[in-house]
Every structure is written in C-alpha cells, then in structure tokens.
C-alpha cells in the first residue's frame, strides 16, 4: 500500500516553489446556491454563503444534520453546480468552468454506492476511472491497467481484482468505489457519506486510509459525514452547516463548541477535550453524563 508506481496526481501542475510553500488549493469564498423548481417561484432551498479553504494533504469534513445542505455544498465544490454568488476555485480556476473531462482529471467524486444494472468485474469498474484520459471512444492500454491495479493496491483491495461487483461486501464495495476515484488521479477527492454502510471498524479504517492517501498522494480531501467524533479525530478542518447556513468553519477544536453543536443538531451535547487536543462530543443526559459511543453521534440516533 505505497504510493510508489502511482505518480503524484498533480505532478507537473505544481512548481517546486509552490509545493514547498503548499499554497491554498481549494478556495470556497462566500459561495451560495439555490434550488428552485421553477424560475419564477422563490427558491425551495438556499445554501450559503459558505467560506473555507484547503491545502494539499488536508482533509476537510462537512458536518450537519440531515437536509442541511451538506451534499449541495459538495456538489458546489465538485463543479456540478455553479455558485449563485461568491466563488469556488481549484488552483485558481472555478471547477464549474472546466471542460467535463478536464475536471474529472482533477476532481474525483466518491458516491455512497454504485447500483449496477449488469454485474461488472472489479477491474472493469476501476478501469472506468481512466475514462477522462484519452479519447471519448477509447480502449484501455497497459498503463491504464497498471493505474487501476495500483489504485486497488492503495485501498488494500488488490485481491478483489477478478471478483464480481455484486458479490462484494459493503466494506469491499466501498473500497473498490474509492479505487475507481483514485484511478482518476485527481488532486481533489470528494466523498459523500462514505461511512454510511460500514461498521465502526470499517469507519476507522476508512478514515485512516483517507488520511494516508491525502498524505501520500498529496490529495485535498473533502468528506461529507455524520461522524462527529471520527471527524474531530482525523480531519484538519470542519465546516458545520445547518438549514443551508454555514454556522462555523475552521479547526475541529474551534468549531466543536457546545452552543454551536447544540444549535446545529438540536440535541443536548457536551464537548470534552481529548489528551491529543482533539475535541470529543458526548450526549448530555438528564442525571448523569454518558459518553456518546458508536452510533450515538449521528443526529438521527441522538434525537
């Protein structure tokens, strides 16, 4: 599981000086968005303005209750939606203005799960990540195969190569979906609730893996998640959204304040500090304080 053989995703795009300084790669500044069913009506849902930024090797978590606009924010970052006001820039360029295939070479989106109509082999699925490179109607070459194998190795799933996608367990499937994103050789990796179908062991493993990938491949990673405590433990910064508004963004220790979290999740919560300086969220009970373990940090469970 090393980065050897997997060229740095942004090799050639950064100057040596830029790499040394590690400039800000992703900028989201006062960005807003609105959904509406028709042009004349008032928008059904508005998001923003949201401001945050990330460098390479950084992992950002987007947290908030259900239907708070987390996924909308992620799609804004991915360039699928164009901001109504403000700006979203990746290395100085708005991703929404990049040609689709160029964008797919820079930004990879990992969806919650893939529903396949006809069963594919794992290698066929991972090779799909090579689509943005080369012509539209293309046949994969040896380089593409090597890239797919490396991507699978990086997520520890090389042994799954010849398995069928519909015969994988939830955790295995999640790794293969991640591998397809790695095969795109992106600089920005976006994940939409990747921990949803995983048990606690799988969740921790995925978080460690994202950390490691960000470090080794110099990715910038943005994750939408419900895992308050895991996010505090593993991520560099947090964006907290509620009902389309950005309540706070910054380091976990700054964002995890009792009033903010209670306002966001409408639940009585307490924040404690771990020895490593990372905050931890616990439920505030009536008589006694109980540690919020396992699934208790998901807002659905807390309510």
């Amino acid at each position: 599981m090393s980065a050897q053989g997997m060229p740095a995703p942004n090799a050639g795009r950064d100057t040596a000086a830029g790499w040394m300084q590690n400039p800000v790669r992703l900028v989201v500044e006062q960005a807003s968005y609105a959904y509406s069913t028709s042009d004349r009506d008032a928008p059904d849902f508005t998001l923003g303005p949201v401001t945050f930024s990330a460098r390479q090797r950084e992992v950002v978590g987007i947290l908030g209750p259900n239907a708070s606009g987390k996924s909308t924010l992620l799609r804004l970052v991915s360039g699928e939606f164009k901001p109504l006001s403000g700006r979203v820039e990746l290395d100085g360029k708005p991703p929404g203005q990049l040609p689709l295939r160029e964008r797919a070479q820079r930004i990879a989106m990992v969806h919650q799960e893939s529903t396949l109509m006809f069963p594919l082999r794992v290698w066929e699925y991972v090779l799909q990540g090579r689509y943005p490179y080369g012509r539209r109607l293309r046949f994969e070459n040896e380089g593409d195969c090597l890239m797919a194998e490396n991507a699978l190795a990086q997520v520890g799933a090389k042994q799954l190569l010849d398995r069928r996608m519909d015969q994988l367990s939830g955790g295995e499937g999640q790794r293969v979906i991640l591998a397809r994103a790695l095969a795109q050789q992106p600089m920005l990796l976006l994940l939409d609730e990747p921990t949803q179908h995983l048990d606690i062991g799988g969740k921790v493993e995925l978080m460690r893996r994202l950390r490691k990938l960000a470090e080794e491949n110099r990715y910038t990673v943005v994750v939408v998640t419900h895992e308050l405590n895991l996010a505090a433990e593993f991520f560099d910064s947090i964006v907290l959204v509620q009902r389309g508004k950005c309540l706070a963004s910054g380091k976990p220790a700054d964002v995890y304040r009792r009033e903010l979290l209670e306002q966001a999740f409408e639940t009585e919560l307490d924040v404690e500090m771990n020895a490593n300086g990372r905050p931890r969220v616990v439920l505030r009970g009536g008589e006694e304080t109980e540690a919020a373990g396992g699934d208790a940090e998901t807002p659905k469970e807390s309510l």
Binding site: E80, Q128, G129, Y131, L137, C145
Partner: protein, 338 residues
C-alpha cells in the same frame, strides 16, 4: 484483468458474421421451392462474379429476386431493432427496455399509418413520420416514467405498456377508415411483415441504418458509464445530456425506419442484447456490434420460420418473434435483475 481490445471485437464480429452467413444460406435454400446447398452456392458465386446468364432463370428469380432481398431486409431490420433496444436499456437503465415494450414501435407504426392515409404521394413521408412518431413516444414515456425526478423502472415499463395500448387504439381507429383489402394488408404489416420490398430501396436503408448505428457506437464508452448512474458518469467526465440526445435520436431513427419497412416486430430489441451480454459481456463497445449482427441473425431466422412453418401461406414474422420472445421475456423478468 483482460481489457477489451479492438481485436477481440473484430474476432467476435467475424464469428457472428460466419453464423449469419450460414443462416442466410439456409434461408435461401428452404421454402416452397427448395434449392440444394450446392445450387445456392453456385448461384451465389455466379451472381457475385456477374455471370447472370449461366444461372437457371428459376434459381435466379427465387434467389436474387425473391429470397435474398427479403433476407437482406430482415438483416437490416433485425440489426436496427436490436441496437435500438440495447441503447434504450442503457439510457433508461432498465434491462427490460426495448422499442416494442416501451411503445416506441407503436408510435412509429402510427406515424407510418398516418403517412399512408394523409400523404400517400410522398414516399419519404412514411419514414419521416415513423421517425417522428418514435421520437415523440420515447419522449412521452421518458417523462411519464419519472417519479420525483428519478427514472423509476416499474413506472417506466408501465408507462411504455400503456402508451403502446393507447397508440394501438388510435391505430385501430384509423384502420377502420380504410377498405377491407387494405385493412388486411395493414393488419398483417402491423404484426411485422418482411414480404414487401421497401419503397426507399435496400441500399438507402442500409446507409441510413449504418449512420444511426455508427452514431450510437461513438457513444459506447459513455454508455458504459451511464449504466452505473448518470451522476457518476457526469463526475467521470461524460457529457450526459449530449450522449442522451445523440442516442435517443439515433435509436428513434433506427426504430422508425425498421417499423416503416417491416411493421412492429417485437422482442428482438429486448432479447438479443441480453443473449449477447451473456455471451460476450456487457461492455457496450462490443455489445453494439454484437447486437447488430445478432439481431440480423435472429430476424433472418425468424422470417425463414414465418414463411415455411405454415407453407404455402405465411405467418407475420412478428408472430414468430413474439411466440419465442414472450416466454423468454417472462423468464428474464422472473430472474429479477438487481
């Protein structure tokens, strides 16, 4: 890991073309006036070399005048229906989609019948209106099949079936306005009939169908990704609206043309892509050409049955494909696709 190569596609196509050739020879042989294999071979070779005068006139008439044009028409229609079925299955992400089930064939048939009644003096009006009928039907079924902005596979199939029966009712209404002899001809044509040579000519039909299939083939890498979801395809760099437009228009063109020259032949577009998937995998880069040749084989064979099982009369070829196709459809339905 064995990624698909152009060489493997060529090998698969060569194999299927070989099978198609055997079917063509068999189909040339059988009928009310059987011709032996050696006579068929000799006739074909002499014809290919241009030695027309050395072929017995009866063989020449039966092989080149009657059977070969009909087989060629079956080949073109089969290829068109099968490729448009494979395309609809990818775009609608529904393994049971096909021009017949979705009502697209009925829309094309209505267009063709309207042209016969209203614009009989223009030969191209039939193809044009059949194409428009197919396009309008798939657009209607697509929008009726959506629920909360998402394509729902059950709703989609029901929308298709209901559209088909609604369109059939309108077709029946128009058919009652024609005289008895024409009525029987139209009814026979509606069931699928390869007995009438197309007014636009086989060569022309071949060229237009080739363009339609070619246009769909250029999107085959994109269709592979659209099969895993439109949003995922978008994030992998596929221009989804462009691909959908190209494939909907091309598939409607294929269906419209096929229906305008042969009536509504069912189940070919549904079954052949599935058989090809089982044999050669679900990659559209091989599935499109394999379905084209497979569909050609199926319709050529079905039409041979149609004109021989109840000889000296004939069945509509659509009756044969339905008799074989319907049970297989049920089988696929029961197998429960994921």
């Amino acid at each position: 890991m064995r990624p698909l190569t152009p060489r493997r596609i060529a090998a698969i196509c060569a194999l299927l073309t070989g099978v198609l050739f055997v079917v063509v020879v068999f189909s040339l042989q059988v009928g009310a006036y059987p011709i032996s294999v050696s006579d068929v071979a000799v006739t074909l070779v002499r014809g290919a070399l241009g030695h027309w005068n050395s072929i017995p006139s009866s063989d020449r008439l039966i092989v080149f005048g009657l059977r070969l044009p009909r087989i060629a028409l079956g080949i073109l229609v089969g290829a068109a229906l099968s490729v448009s079925g494979a395309s609809f299955q990818a775009l609608l992400r529904n393994p049971l989609a096909d021009p017949y089930v979705l009502g697209v064939s009925s829309g094309a048939a209505l267009g063709a019948i309207l042209s016969l009644l209203l614009l009989p003096q223009f030969p191209w009006a039939m193809q044009g209106l059949a194409f428009l009928g197919a396009l309008a039907t798939i657009a209607a079924v697509y929008f009726l099949g959506r629920r909360k902005g998402q394509l729902d596979s059950t709703t989609l199939l029901l929308a298709g079936i209901i559209s088909a029966s609604f369109l059939s009712a309108i077709i029946m209404f128009f058919m009652t306005t024609v005289s008895g002899r024409d009525f029987r001809g139209m009814a026979f044509w509606l069931m699928g009939d390869l007995g009438t040579a197309p007014a636009i000519g086989l060569g022309f039909l071949f060229v237009v169908l080739l363009i339609g299939i070619g246009a769909i083939y250029t999107t085959s890498s994109d269709l592979n990704l659209i099969l895993t979801g439109e949003q995922e395809a978008h994030h992998l760099g596929v221009n989804v609206p462009r691909v959908k437009l190209v494939v909907y228009v091309s598939a409607s063109l294929l269906t419209g043309l096929a229906v305008s020259v042969s009536g509504a032949i069912g189940y070919v577009g549904l079954l052949i892509p599935h058989v090809m998937r089982m044999l050669f995998g679900s990659d559209y880069r091989v599935l499109i050409p394999a379905s084209a040749i497979g569909g050609a084989i199926a319709v050529a064979l079905a039409d041979t049955l149609a004109r021989t099982v109840v000889a000296p009369t004939e069945l509509p070829v659509g009756a044969v494909t339905a008799a074989i196709g319907a049970p297989v459809f049920i089988y696929l339905l029961r197998r429960r696709f994921p």
